[in-house]
Protein backbone atom coordinates (compact mmCIF):
# COMPACT_ATOMS: atom_id res chain seq x y z
CA UNK A 1 0.00 0.00 0.00
CA UNK A 2 1.35 3.41 -0.89
CA UNK A 3 1.76 5.93 1.89
CA UNK A 4 -0.99 8.48 2.51
CA UNK A 5 0.02 12.01 1.54
CA UNK A 6 -0.58 14.12 4.64
CA UNK A 7 -0.15 17.88 4.99
CA UNK A 8 -0.55 20.29 7.90
CA UNK A 9 -1.27 23.99 7.64
CA UNK A 10 -0.80 26.76 10.21
CA UNK A 11 -3.15 29.73 9.90
CA UNK A 12 -4.07 32.13 12.75
CA UNK A 13 -3.28 30.01 15.78
CA UNK A 14 -0.53 29.67 18.36
CA UNK A 15 0.99 26.48 16.85
CA UNK A 16 -0.17 24.63 19.96
CA UNK A 17 -2.00 22.11 17.75
CA UNK A 18 1.27 21.41 15.93
CA UNK A 19 3.04 21.03 19.29
CA UNK A 20 0.31 18.58 20.28
CA UNK A 21 0.92 16.70 17.01
CA UNK A 22 4.61 16.37 17.92
CA UNK A 23 3.57 15.23 21.40
CA UNK A 24 2.55 11.90 19.87
CA UNK A 25 6.16 10.93 20.63
CA UNK A 26 7.07 7.39 19.53
CA UNK A 27 3.75 6.99 17.73
CA UNK A 28 5.19 9.40 15.16
CA UNK A 29 7.55 6.61 14.13
CA UNK A 30 4.63 4.27 13.62
CA UNK A 31 2.80 6.93 11.57
CA UNK A 32 5.97 7.63 9.56
CA UNK A 33 5.62 4.15 8.11
CA UNK A 34 2.10 4.93 6.89
CA UNK A 35 2.21 8.57 5.85
CA UNK A 36 4.32 10.90 3.83
CA UNK A 37 4.38 14.44 5.23
CA UNK A 38 4.23 16.44 2.00
CA UNK A 39 3.67 19.94 3.41
CA UNK A 40 3.86 21.40 6.91
CA UNK A 41 5.54 24.11 8.99
CA UNK A 42 7.58 21.14 10.23
CA UNK A 43 9.05 20.23 6.83
CA UNK A 44 10.92 22.26 4.23
CA UNK A 45 8.42 22.54 1.42
CA UNK A 46 7.44 25.95 0.08
CA UNK A 47 4.50 25.22 -2.22
CA UNK A 48 1.39 23.26 -1.21
CA UNK A 49 1.46 20.17 -3.48
CA UNK A 50 -1.32 18.59 -5.54
CA UNK A 51 -3.13 15.35 -4.62
CA UNK A 52 -2.94 15.54 -0.86
CA UNK A 53 -4.94 12.83 0.92
CA UNK A 54 -5.38 14.45 4.33
CA UNK A 55 -4.83 18.09 5.28
CA UNK A 56 -4.85 19.02 8.99
CA UNK A 57 -5.52 22.73 9.37
CA UNK A 58 -4.75 24.68 12.54
CA UNK A 59 -5.93 28.25 13.07
CA UNK A 60 -8.63 30.67 12.01
CA UNK A 61 -8.85 32.59 8.76
CA UNK A 62 -7.68 36.06 9.79
CA UNK A 63 -5.82 37.53 6.82
CA UNK A 64 -6.11 37.62 3.06
CA UNK A 65 -3.15 35.26 2.94
CA UNK A 66 -4.95 32.78 5.22
CA UNK A 67 -7.92 32.81 2.86
CA UNK A 68 -5.74 32.21 -0.23
CA UNK A 69 -4.04 29.33 1.55
CA UNK A 70 -7.19 27.60 2.75
CA UNK A 71 -8.80 27.82 -0.70
CA UNK A 72 -5.72 26.26 -2.28
CA UNK A 73 -5.49 23.56 0.38
CA UNK A 74 -9.15 22.66 -0.05
CA UNK A 75 -8.80 22.43 -3.82
CA UNK A 76 -5.76 20.16 -3.54
CA UNK A 77 -6.82 17.88 -0.65
CA UNK A 78 -9.22 14.96 -0.53
CA UNK A 79 -9.94 15.24 3.19
CA UNK A 80 -9.75 18.45 5.17
CA UNK A 81 -9.56 18.27 8.98
CA UNK A 82 -10.38 21.38 11.01
CA UNK A 83 -7.87 20.89 13.83
CA UNK A 84 -8.38 22.70 17.12
CA UNK A 85 -10.65 25.43 18.43
CA UNK A 86 -9.15 28.25 16.33
CA UNK A 87 -9.96 26.40 13.11
CA UNK A 88 -13.35 25.22 14.39
CA UNK A 89 -14.61 28.34 16.24
CA UNK A 90 -11.97 31.06 15.57
CA UNK A 91 -11.39 30.85 19.35
CA UNK A 92 -8.85 33.34 20.74
CA UNK A 93 -8.12 35.08 17.41
CA UNK A 94 -11.86 35.91 17.31
CA UNK A 95 -11.58 37.98 20.48
CA UNK A 96 -10.54 40.90 18.26
CA UNK A 97 -13.72 40.58 16.20
CA UNK A 98 -15.95 42.97 18.17
CA UNK A 99 -13.37 45.71 17.47
CA UNK A 100 -12.21 47.46 14.29
CA UNK A 101 -8.92 46.22 12.84
CA UNK A 102 -7.42 49.69 13.07
CA UNK A 103 -8.30 49.94 16.78
CA UNK A 104 -6.74 46.55 17.45
CA UNK A 105 -3.52 47.46 15.61
CA UNK A 106 -3.35 50.86 17.32
CA UNK A 107 -3.77 49.21 20.69
CA UNK A 108 -0.99 46.70 20.06
CA UNK A 109 1.53 48.74 18.08
CA UNK A 110 0.97 52.35 19.19
CA UNK A 111 -0.77 52.67 22.57
CA UNK A 112 1.27 49.88 24.18
CA UNK A 113 4.51 50.37 22.25
CA UNK A 114 7.53 51.84 23.95
CA UNK A 115 9.89 51.57 20.97
CA UNK A 116 9.16 52.48 17.34
CA UNK A 117 5.38 52.84 17.61
CA UNK A 118 3.46 52.12 14.39
CA UNK A 119 1.67 49.12 12.91
CA UNK A 120 3.72 47.08 10.40
CA UNK A 121 2.60 47.67 6.82
CA UNK A 122 5.20 45.95 4.63
CA UNK A 123 5.76 42.22 4.18
CA UNK A 124 2.94 41.13 6.47
CA UNK A 125 -0.48 39.94 5.25
CA UNK A 126 -3.40 42.34 5.55
CA UNK A 127 -5.80 41.45 8.34
CA UNK A 128 -9.39 40.79 7.36
CA UNK A 129 -12.13 42.58 9.34
CA UNK A 130 -12.66 39.47 11.48
CA UNK A 131 -11.03 36.12 12.27
CA UNK A 132 -13.51 33.41 11.23
CA UNK A 133 -13.65 29.60 11.42
CA UNK A 134 -12.42 27.84 8.29
CA UNK A 135 -15.71 26.08 7.56
CA UNK A 136 -17.22 29.48 6.75
CA UNK A 137 -14.96 29.53 3.64
CA UNK A 138 -14.48 25.90 2.58
CA UNK A 139 -16.09 22.53 3.17
CA UNK A 140 -14.60 20.70 6.13
CA UNK A 141 -14.74 16.92 6.42
CA UNK A 142 -13.76 16.35 10.05
CA UNK A 143 -14.01 18.72 13.02
CA UNK A 144 -11.63 18.23 15.94
CA UNK A 145 -12.32 20.70 18.79
CA UNK A 146 -9.77 21.23 21.56
CA UNK A 147 -7.27 23.88 22.62
CA UNK A 148 -5.20 22.09 21.69
CA UNK A 149 -6.64 18.64 20.94
CA UNK A 150 -4.50 16.19 22.88
CA UNK A 151 -1.83 14.07 21.20
CA UNK A 152 -4.06 11.05 21.86
CA UNK A 153 -6.95 12.75 20.06
CA UNK A 154 -4.84 13.69 17.04
CA UNK A 155 -3.37 10.20 16.85
CA UNK A 156 -6.87 8.70 17.04
CA UNK A 157 -8.09 11.01 14.25
CA UNK A 158 -5.16 10.16 11.96
CA UNK A 159 -5.32 6.43 12.72
CA UNK A 160 -9.05 6.28 12.00
CA UNK A 161 -8.70 8.23 8.76
CA UNK A 162 -5.83 6.00 7.61
CA UNK A 163 -8.09 3.00 8.27
CA UNK A 164 -10.73 4.58 6.07
CA UNK A 165 -13.11 5.46 8.93
CA UNK A 166 -14.62 8.78 9.95
CA UNK A 167 -13.35 9.42 13.49
CA UNK A 168 -16.10 9.54 16.11
CA UNK A 169 -14.58 11.79 18.74
CA UNK A 170 -17.27 11.48 21.42
CA UNK A 171 -15.73 11.99 24.84
CA UNK A 172 -12.15 12.31 23.54
CA UNK A 173 -12.11 16.08 23.16
CA UNK A 174 -14.19 19.22 23.62
CA UNK A 175 -14.04 22.98 23.13
CA UNK A 176 -11.27 24.35 25.32
CA UNK A 177 -9.94 20.87 26.18
Amino acid sequence: MSKARVATLWLDGCSGCHMSLLDMDERLLELAGKIEMVFSPLVDQKEFPENVDVALVEGAVSSDEDLEKILKVRARSKLLVSLGDCAVTANIPSMRNPFKVKDVLDRAYIENATLNPGAPVDAVPTLRPQARPIHEFVNVDVFVPGCPPSADTIYFVLAEILEGRVPDLGAKTRFGA
Binding site: I92, M95, R132, F175
Partner: protein, 239 residues
Protein backbone atom coordinates in the same frame (compact mmCIF):
# COMPACT_ATOMS: atom_id res chain seq x y z
CA UNK B 1 -48.53 14.96 48.05
CA UNK B 2 -52.27 15.30 47.92
CA UNK B 3 -54.39 12.18 48.09
CA UNK B 4 -55.99 12.94 44.75
CA UNK B 5 -52.75 12.24 42.85
CA UNK B 6 -53.10 9.14 40.72
CA UNK B 7 -50.47 6.66 39.76
CA UNK B 8 -50.23 6.44 36.01
CA UNK B 9 -48.29 4.30 33.57
CA UNK B 10 -46.50 5.44 30.45
CA UNK B 11 -43.53 4.45 28.30
CA UNK B 12 -40.27 6.32 27.83
CA UNK B 13 -38.08 5.18 24.94
CA UNK B 14 -40.10 1.98 24.97
CA UNK B 15 -39.64 1.32 28.69
CA UNK B 16 -42.79 0.86 30.80
CA UNK B 17 -42.77 3.21 33.75
CA UNK B 18 -45.08 4.06 36.65
CA UNK B 19 -45.24 7.63 37.85
CA UNK B 20 -47.31 9.97 39.93
CA UNK B 21 -49.71 12.09 37.92
CA UNK B 22 -48.28 15.32 39.35
CA UNK B 23 -44.74 14.65 38.15
CA UNK B 24 -43.09 16.21 35.13
CA UNK B 25 -41.61 14.19 32.28
CA UNK B 26 -38.16 15.33 33.42
CA UNK B 27 -38.71 14.24 37.03
CA UNK B 28 -39.93 10.82 35.93
CA UNK B 29 -37.03 10.39 33.50
CA UNK B 30 -34.45 11.30 36.15
CA UNK B 31 -36.07 9.00 38.74
CA UNK B 32 -35.61 6.20 36.23
CA UNK B 33 -32.05 7.18 35.31
CA UNK B 34 -32.98 8.24 31.80
CA UNK B 35 -31.13 11.23 30.37
CA UNK B 36 -32.74 14.42 29.12
CA UNK B 37 -30.40 17.39 28.61
CA UNK B 38 -31.33 20.61 30.47
CA UNK B 39 -29.80 24.04 30.84
CA UNK B 40 -32.23 26.60 32.29
CA UNK B 41 -33.69 24.03 34.68
CA UNK B 42 -32.23 23.71 38.16
CA UNK B 43 -33.91 21.71 40.89
CA UNK B 44 -35.01 24.11 43.61
CA UNK B 45 -35.79 27.02 41.29
CA UNK B 46 -39.01 27.87 39.45
CA UNK B 47 -39.33 26.08 36.11
CA UNK B 48 -39.40 28.37 33.09
CA UNK B 49 -38.91 25.97 30.17
CA UNK B 50 -37.01 28.61 28.22
CA UNK B 51 -33.89 26.88 26.91
CA UNK B 52 -35.86 24.18 25.03
CA UNK B 53 -33.06 21.63 25.33
CA UNK B 54 -35.38 19.23 27.20
CA UNK B 55 -37.91 19.02 24.37
CA UNK B 56 -39.31 15.50 23.97
CA UNK B 57 -41.68 13.78 21.53
CA UNK B 58 -45.00 12.29 22.59
CA UNK B 59 -46.74 9.95 20.17
CA UNK B 60 -49.94 11.47 18.82
CA UNK B 61 -48.97 15.05 19.73
CA UNK B 62 -47.55 17.06 16.86
CA UNK B 63 -45.57 19.65 18.77
CA UNK B 64 -42.52 18.94 20.88
CA UNK B 65 -43.01 19.34 24.62
CA UNK B 66 -40.51 20.73 27.16
CA UNK B 67 -39.96 17.90 29.67
CA UNK B 68 -39.26 20.22 32.62
CA UNK B 69 -42.72 21.85 32.59
CA UNK B 70 -44.88 19.05 31.13
CA UNK B 71 -46.85 16.74 33.44
CA UNK B 72 -46.95 13.08 32.50
CA UNK B 73 -50.27 11.61 31.38
CA UNK B 74 -51.73 8.12 31.31
CA UNK B 75 -50.66 6.00 28.37
CA UNK B 76 -48.15 8.45 26.90
CA UNK B 77 -45.43 7.08 24.68
CA UNK B 78 -42.51 9.47 25.12
CA UNK B 79 -39.30 9.60 23.05
CA UNK B 80 -36.43 11.27 24.88
CA UNK B 81 -33.60 10.99 22.39
CA UNK B 82 -34.79 10.60 18.80
CA UNK B 83 -32.70 11.71 15.83
CA UNK B 84 -35.00 14.68 15.33
CA UNK B 85 -34.58 15.78 18.96
CA UNK B 86 -30.84 15.36 18.74
CA UNK B 87 -30.77 17.62 15.67
CA UNK B 88 -32.85 20.32 17.37
CA UNK B 89 -30.82 20.16 20.58
CA UNK B 90 -27.57 20.57 18.69
CA UNK B 91 -29.05 23.53 16.80
CA UNK B 92 -30.06 25.16 20.09
CA UNK B 93 -26.50 24.78 21.40
CA UNK B 94 -25.09 26.13 18.16
CA UNK B 95 -27.34 29.18 18.42
CA UNK B 96 -26.18 29.75 22.01
CA UNK B 97 -22.52 29.49 20.99
CA UNK B 98 -22.93 31.78 17.98
CA UNK B 99 -24.94 34.43 19.82
CA UNK B 100 -22.18 35.65 22.14
CA UNK B 101 -18.42 35.19 22.62
CA UNK B 102 -17.80 31.82 24.24
CA UNK B 103 -14.05 31.26 24.19
CA UNK B 104 -13.71 28.09 26.28
CA UNK B 105 -9.92 28.05 26.08
CA UNK B 106 -9.51 31.21 28.16
CA UNK B 107 -12.63 30.92 30.34
CA UNK B 108 -12.48 30.68 34.12
CA UNK B 109 -15.18 27.99 33.94
CA UNK B 110 -13.34 25.84 31.36
CA UNK B 111 -13.88 22.23 32.42
CA UNK B 112 -16.73 23.14 34.79
CA UNK B 113 -19.20 24.66 32.34
CA UNK B 114 -22.62 23.19 31.58
CA UNK B 115 -22.73 24.68 28.07
CA UNK B 116 -19.31 23.25 27.21
CA UNK B 117 -20.20 19.85 28.68
CA UNK B 118 -23.49 19.72 26.78
CA UNK B 119 -21.72 20.43 23.49
CA UNK B 120 -19.50 17.45 24.16
CA UNK B 121 -22.29 15.18 25.44
CA UNK B 122 -24.61 15.94 22.54
CA UNK B 123 -21.85 15.69 19.94
CA UNK B 124 -21.92 19.31 18.78
CA UNK B 125 -18.49 19.63 17.15
CA UNK B 126 -18.96 22.92 15.31
CA UNK B 127 -21.40 25.75 14.70
CA UNK B 128 -23.23 25.90 11.36
CA UNK B 129 -24.53 29.41 11.96
CA UNK B 130 -22.47 32.56 11.44
CA UNK B 131 -20.94 33.71 14.72
CA UNK B 132 -22.15 37.18 15.71
CA UNK B 133 -19.11 38.25 17.78
CA UNK B 134 -21.04 41.07 19.53
CA UNK B 135 -19.27 43.68 21.62
CA UNK B 136 -20.46 43.14 25.20
CA UNK B 137 -19.56 44.56 28.57
CA UNK B 138 -17.82 43.02 31.55
CA UNK B 139 -18.94 44.54 34.88
CA UNK B 140 -16.28 44.16 37.56
CA UNK B 141 -17.61 46.94 39.82
CA UNK B 142 -18.61 44.55 42.62
CA UNK B 143 -15.99 43.89 45.31
CA UNK B 144 -16.06 40.13 44.97
CA UNK B 145 -17.95 39.17 41.79
CA UNK B 146 -17.86 39.78 38.03
CA UNK B 147 -20.54 39.52 35.36
CA UNK B 148 -19.22 38.81 31.86
CA UNK B 149 -22.06 39.22 29.38
CA UNK B 150 -19.96 37.56 26.67
CA UNK B 151 -20.60 34.21 28.36
CA UNK B 152 -24.24 34.68 29.43
CA UNK B 153 -26.86 32.43 27.83
CA UNK B 154 -29.87 34.17 29.45
CA UNK B 155 -31.02 31.06 31.31
CA UNK B 156 -32.27 33.38 34.13
CA UNK B 157 -31.12 31.07 36.90
CA UNK B 158 -29.49 34.10 38.60
CA UNK B 159 -32.73 36.07 38.34
CA UNK B 160 -34.72 33.22 39.87
CA UNK B 161 -32.33 32.30 42.69
CA UNK B 162 -31.96 35.95 43.72
CA UNK B 163 -35.72 36.48 43.75
CA UNK B 164 -36.98 33.12 45.01
CA UNK B 165 -34.29 31.99 47.44
CA UNK B 166 -32.37 35.07 48.54
CA UNK B 167 -35.43 37.32 48.28
CA UNK B 168 -33.41 40.28 47.01
CA UNK B 169 -34.41 40.40 43.32
CA UNK B 170 -31.26 42.25 42.36
CA UNK B 171 -31.12 40.52 38.96
CA UNK B 172 -33.60 40.93 36.14
CA UNK B 173 -33.72 41.01 32.35
CA UNK B 174 -33.47 44.11 30.18
CA UNK B 175 -34.42 44.27 26.50
CA UNK B 176 -35.78 41.64 24.17
CA UNK B 177 -34.48 39.01 21.78
CA UNK B 178 -30.86 39.31 20.80
CA UNK B 179 -30.59 42.57 22.78
CA UNK B 180 -31.70 41.02 26.06
CA UNK B 181 -29.25 40.99 28.95
CA UNK B 182 -29.25 40.41 32.68
CA UNK B 183 -29.02 43.57 34.77
CA UNK B 184 -28.53 44.44 38.44
CA UNK B 185 -31.13 46.75 39.98
CA UNK B 186 -32.20 49.39 37.44
CA UNK B 187 -29.31 48.63 35.09
CA UNK B 188 -26.77 50.12 37.48
CA UNK B 189 -23.23 48.81 37.98
CA UNK B 190 -23.35 45.74 40.23
CA UNK B 191 -21.02 47.39 42.74
CA UNK B 192 -23.53 50.23 43.21
CA UNK B 193 -26.53 47.95 43.75
CA UNK B 194 -28.62 48.81 46.82
CA UNK B 195 -30.32 45.41 46.92
CA UNK B 196 -27.45 42.93 46.37
CA UNK B 197 -26.61 41.19 49.64
CA UNK B 198 -23.35 39.74 48.26
CA UNK B 199 -24.58 36.20 49.05
CA UNK B 200 -23.07 34.69 45.89
CA UNK B 201 -26.00 32.40 45.07
CA UNK B 202 -26.20 33.75 41.51
CA UNK B 203 -22.52 32.92 41.00
CA UNK B 204 -23.07 29.32 42.02
CA UNK B 205 -26.19 28.62 39.97
CA UNK B 206 -24.82 30.21 36.77
CA UNK B 207 -24.15 27.35 34.32
CA UNK B 208 -21.31 29.13 32.48
CA UNK B 209 -18.53 31.58 33.26
CA UNK B 210 -20.88 34.58 33.03
CA UNK B 211 -21.14 35.05 36.80
CA UNK B 212 -17.90 34.33 38.61
CA UNK B 213 -15.80 35.21 41.62
CA UNK B 214 -13.10 37.81 41.13
CA UNK B 215 -9.50 36.72 40.93
CA UNK B 216 -10.10 33.32 39.36
CA UNK B 217 -7.93 32.30 36.43
CA UNK B 218 -8.63 29.92 33.53
CA UNK B 219 -10.30 26.68 34.70
CA UNK B 220 -10.34 27.79 38.35
CA UNK B 221 -14.02 28.64 38.80
CA UNK B 222 -16.03 25.73 40.19
CA UNK B 223 -19.63 26.21 41.25
CA UNK B 224 -21.15 24.90 44.50
CA UNK B 225 -24.78 23.86 44.23
CA UNK B 226 -25.30 21.79 47.43
CA UNK B 227 -26.98 24.65 49.23
CA UNK B 228 -29.95 24.92 46.90
CA UNK B 229 -32.08 21.87 47.88
CA UNK B 230 -31.59 22.64 51.61
CA UNK B 231 -32.54 26.28 51.25
CA UNK B 232 -35.57 25.39 49.14
CA UNK B 233 -36.72 22.91 51.77
CA UNK B 234 -36.22 25.37 54.62
CA UNK B 235 -38.18 28.07 52.81
CA UNK B 236 -41.07 25.65 52.25
CA UNK B 237 -41.17 24.66 55.91
CA UNK B 238 -40.97 28.19 57.19
CA UNK B 239 -43.57 29.65 54.89
Amino acid sequence: MSQAVRVITLTMDGREISARGDQTVLQVARENNMYIPTLCHLTGLARVGSCRLCLVEVKGINKLLPACVTRVEEGWEVSLNSERLSKYRKSILELLFSERNHVCAVCVSNGHCELQTLAQTLGMTHVHFAYRYPRLAVDGSHDRFVVDHNRCILCTRCVRVCDEIEGAHTWDLLGRGVNAQVITDLNQPWGESDTCTGCGKCINVCPTGALVEKGKSVREMTKQRQFLPYLTLMRERRW
